[in-house]
Structures are given as structure tokens and as C-alpha cells.
């Protein structure tokens, strides 16, 4: 009897805890939406803040976020996946692999502001890239590299050896086998790494403020979109941080709503891609 009571008490606690954490999440999201939604209108999304007109807009920050995310992935994904392939398929567990693994783990646990400091001094200063989207992206690429490498590596590790041996038995070269079997089979894991990386990129503030700066203007059509890469550009999160520090809370909540929607959309997209690739292979 007492046992039974204790059992149902614990069960109640477990359900309660689950309910509480879900409610907390829903509550925060709901709060942000209620506070921020009035700010999310057409002008807010499609123009940049203008002191002359007295209007606020985040179009520039949206574009910057897109730039930084894409550029970061362009740098980090090939290097990260390449490193994972090398470690798992070529290196054979020597000291080089252990060194990379150790470095990767250390980098993964490092506060992002340290990456910011390094990026600012090295990419911005030594390489002379200044406060720019490029400096920010290179910095974040270093930051998310461990995530991508680790997830790709785990995914490759999970691919059964019978595929490797089977392909070799058909006379396939190692690289052909990697291209046609291993990478497709590891795709879900690689995609997971990319989702996590995008989350960190979109959510980053400190490291970006120090490297990509806080420019909020749209790329000028005359000088071409490419030129923007060498100019300062603040992402949504950076702008949100700045708005908060200037006590413009409504604006900050508005950006919060946009960020939440963005993260949701990215997650859905990536899940769709993952489901699609799974269906093919």
C-alpha cells in the first residue's frame, strides 16, 4: 500500500516536472510573442532604422544574419566534414587523430567571447579584414568547426564496415566509396551538426559584436552584394543585444519574435532535408 502510494507520488512528480518544463518553454515563447508581436510589421521587416524618418527596421540585420550563417557554413562544413573523413577513414587512430580530438573537445567547451577576441585580433587585425561580415564568419567558422566535425565523425563511425569492405570488393577506390556510400549514409549526422551550428551562429552575440560589428545598413545595390562581405554587419542577435542595452525593449522583443520564427523555420527545413535524404538512401 505504502509502496503503491510512493510509486504514484513519484509518477506525479515526473509528470509534474515534464509539465512544468513544457509550460516554462511555452510561457517564455508566448511572452516574447505577446510583447514583440506589435512591433513586427512590414516596415520593421523590410526597412532599416532611419533617424530622419524616426522608424525602426531590421532588414539589414536579417540580411546580415543570412550572410554570416551561409558564409560560416561555407567555411566550416567542408573543413569539418573533411577532417571527420580523414580521422575516421584515413588516419587509423594515430597520435594526429588524438591531437585533433583533444583540440576539438577543448574548442567545443570554450566561451564564445574568446573566439571573438581571437577573431578580432587575428582575422580583423593581423589579416587586416577589420570589422566585417567576413571576419565574423571566419571567427564563427572556427567556433562551430568542432560541432560539425564531431557529428560527422560519429555518423561515419556508425556506418557499418560491411559497406566499406563490400565496396572494396567491387574494386571501388576508397575515395569513390566515401563519396558514393559513406557520405550519403552519414548525411543525417552531418545535417544534425549543421543544425546545431546554425543555432549557435544565429544565437551568437558577443563573438560577432567584436568581429562583424554592428552595421545595420542594407548592402548597397550599386556596389554589389559581394562587397557587403567586407563591411561591418550586425546580425539579429547582435542588434537585439544593442537594443536591450539602449533600453529599447519593444524593439528587442520584436527581434526576438523574428529570431524564434527563424530558428523554427531552419529546424523544419533541415528536418525536411534529412527526411528526404533518408528516403533516398
Amino acid at each position: 500500500m505504502i509502496r503503491k502510494l510512493a510509486d504514484s507520488f513519484i509518477l506525479g512528480m515526473i509528470y509534474g516536472a515534464a509539465f512544468f518544463s513544457v509550460m516554462l518553454l511555452v510561457g517564455i515563447i508566448g511572452y516574447v510573442f505577446v510583447k514583440g508581436f506589435p512591433f513586427v510589421h512590414w516596415t520593421f521587416l523590410t526597412t532599416v532604422t532611419s533617424i530622419l524618418r524616426g522608424s525602426t527596421g531590421i532588414a539589414g540585420n536579417l540580411v546580415n544574419t543570412f550572410y554570416v550563417a551561409v558564409l560560416t557554413l561555407v567555411f566550416a562544413v567542408p573543413v569539418g566534414v573533411g577532417a571527420a573523413v580523414w580521422m575516421n577513414e584515413y588516419a587509423g587512430g594515430g597520435w594526429g587523430v588524438r591531437l585533433i580530438e583533444f583540440t576539438t573537445q577543448t574548442l567545443a567547451g570554450m566561451p564564445s567571447v574568446i573566439f571573438g577576441l581571437f577573431g578580432m585580433v587575428f582575422f580583423g587585425g593581423t589579416l587586416g579584414l577589420g570589422y566585417s561580415v567576413l571576419t565574423g564568419s571566419l571567427t564563427l567558422a572556427v567556433m562551430v568547426l568542432p560541432l560539425i566535425t564531431h557529428n560527422a565523425r560519429e555518423a561515419l563511425r556508425a556506418v557499418p564496415d560491411s559497406y566499406r569492405i563490400g565496396a572494396a570488393g567491387m574494386g571501388a577506390t576508397k575515395w569513390y566509396m566515401i563519396r558514393t556510400i559513406l557520405l550519403p549514409a552519414a548525411m543525417p549526422g552531418i545535417v544534425t551538426g549543421i543544425i546545431l551550428a546554425v543555432g549557435r551562429i544565429v544565437g551568437e552575440s558577443a563573438a560577432l559584436l567584436l568581429t562583424a560589428g554592428s552595421g545595420y545598413l542594407l548592402p548597397q545595390s550599386g556596389r554589389g552584394l559581394l562587397h557587403k562581405v567586407l563591411e561591418s554587419g550586425g546580425t539579429l542577435t547582435v542588434q537585439m543585444y544593442l537594443s536591450m542595452s539602449k533600453a529599447r525593449y519593444g524593439e528587442a522583443f520584436g527581434i526576438g519574435v523574428v529570431l524564434l520564427c527563424l530558428v523554427l523555420a531552419i529546424n523544419l527545413c533541415v528536418r525536411l532535408i534529412a527526411a528526404y535524404t533518408k528516403r533516398i538512401f
Binding site: G92, Y163, I165, G166, M170, G171, A185
Partner: protein, 252 residues
Amino acid sequence: MDDIKIRTDHLNLYYGRTHALKNVSVKIRAQAVTALIGPSGCGKSTFLKTLNRMNDLSGNVRIEGGVYLDGKDIYAPGVDVAKLRRKVGMVFQEPNPFPMSIYDNVAYGPRVHGIKDHGTLEKIVEESLRGASIWDEVKGRLRKSALGLSGGQKQRLCIARAMAVEPEVLLMDEPTSALDPASTVKVEELMKELKKKYTVVVVTHNMQQAARVSDDTFFFLMGEAVETGSTYSLFSKPRDRRTFDYINGRFG
């Protein structure tokens, strides 16, 4: 009928300090099924893998002596291993179709060897699947994943995949040990069919299977080819005491 397809000459293989094959000198006849029998760990798989150099994949392997395919040493310097494996295909114990469609599995080998033309590939895929007597079961779902097939179907798909590069020799390492009896019967029938075109070497730890499907049998024990010869004579009047003991179930 008595053409020799593969000959080994004082073949020794070491995994580090393990002496896994000891002075193996045997002759494998063309267009016949040769069964390799012997207790587990006696070197059957190791021997089979030396025939298409799959041992090259595991590190720490040392090989002495020679393996001659149509009289040519396959371990000679300058031998193209990819070409060798095209001639000497392999089917493994666990069916291992790749995680792609049935069609792409069979087309994998031809594509490796540079065939890109759709019409040609389609023809090869159909012929190979028919050759492995699985065409009727899969013809309506060629574009579906091969991982959805049953174990027996997977193994016949792997045989089709191996046949798609038109090999001269098919090596099979316990191809039925992971299969149910009905699928086993199908694969065994297939082996008898295959020898019309190919030289088949099959590892089995099932002596009844060896007796049913093979023309020649090699009995291995602790890395040695103890007795080799026609399946009939090896089972009915073994010359070596150890062979007699083994086929009468005294060990292994």
C-alpha cells in the same frame, strides 16, 4: 573441364605473429564449385580473401608464396587490384547491400568501372538480377531501398551485384549462414547454376552443403590444406585421418 583457373603455390599468410595459412598449394578448377570446409578459425576466410587480395585491407598482414589467376601472379608488383577484383568478385557472410536502391546496388560495380550509359546499365541490372534469380521478386521495386528486402533476397541481390561486373570467379564466404532454410535452398541452386559461367569458391561450415553443391572440396585445419580433391572421393574415402575425423563429426 579440367582447366585450372587459380593455383596457389606454397602460400603462407601471417597476421602479425599468427601463422594463418601454412604452405597452401592447391588448384581450383574453372567452371566448377569448390567448397572450403574445416573447423572455425582454420583459415577458410583468410584463404578466400587471398584470392582477390581483400587481405590488403587489413594492416599487419604478410604473404609469402604465390597466387596465380590464369597463370599470372596476382601479387606481382604493378597488378591493378581494382581490375583483379572485377575479375574475382566476392559475396560475404552477412548480406551487405549498400544503403541505396536495388537498382543502384547492382549498378554500383559497373559504375565503378566507368559504365555510365543508362541503357547499358539497365540491361546489366536486369541480366544480373535474373542471373541471381531475384528479378521476378524485385522488378516492380527497383528504385526502392535495398535495405527493405528479406535476408535471403538481400543475399541474392549481393550475388547479382557481384555478377554485374561480369567476373570470372565468384568467392562466397558462408553465403547462407545468415539465411533461413528456404533462402538457403535458393542460393544453393543458384551456385549450381553459376558454375556454368563462373568459377565458384564457397566457404561453408556445413558439410551437407559442401556435399550438395560442390565438385571439389578442400579441407582446412589450422591453416593447412589437409586434403583436397573431388567432393565425392573426399567424403566417401578420405585419405587423411584428420579428414575422416572431421567429416565424421569428431571435432569442429
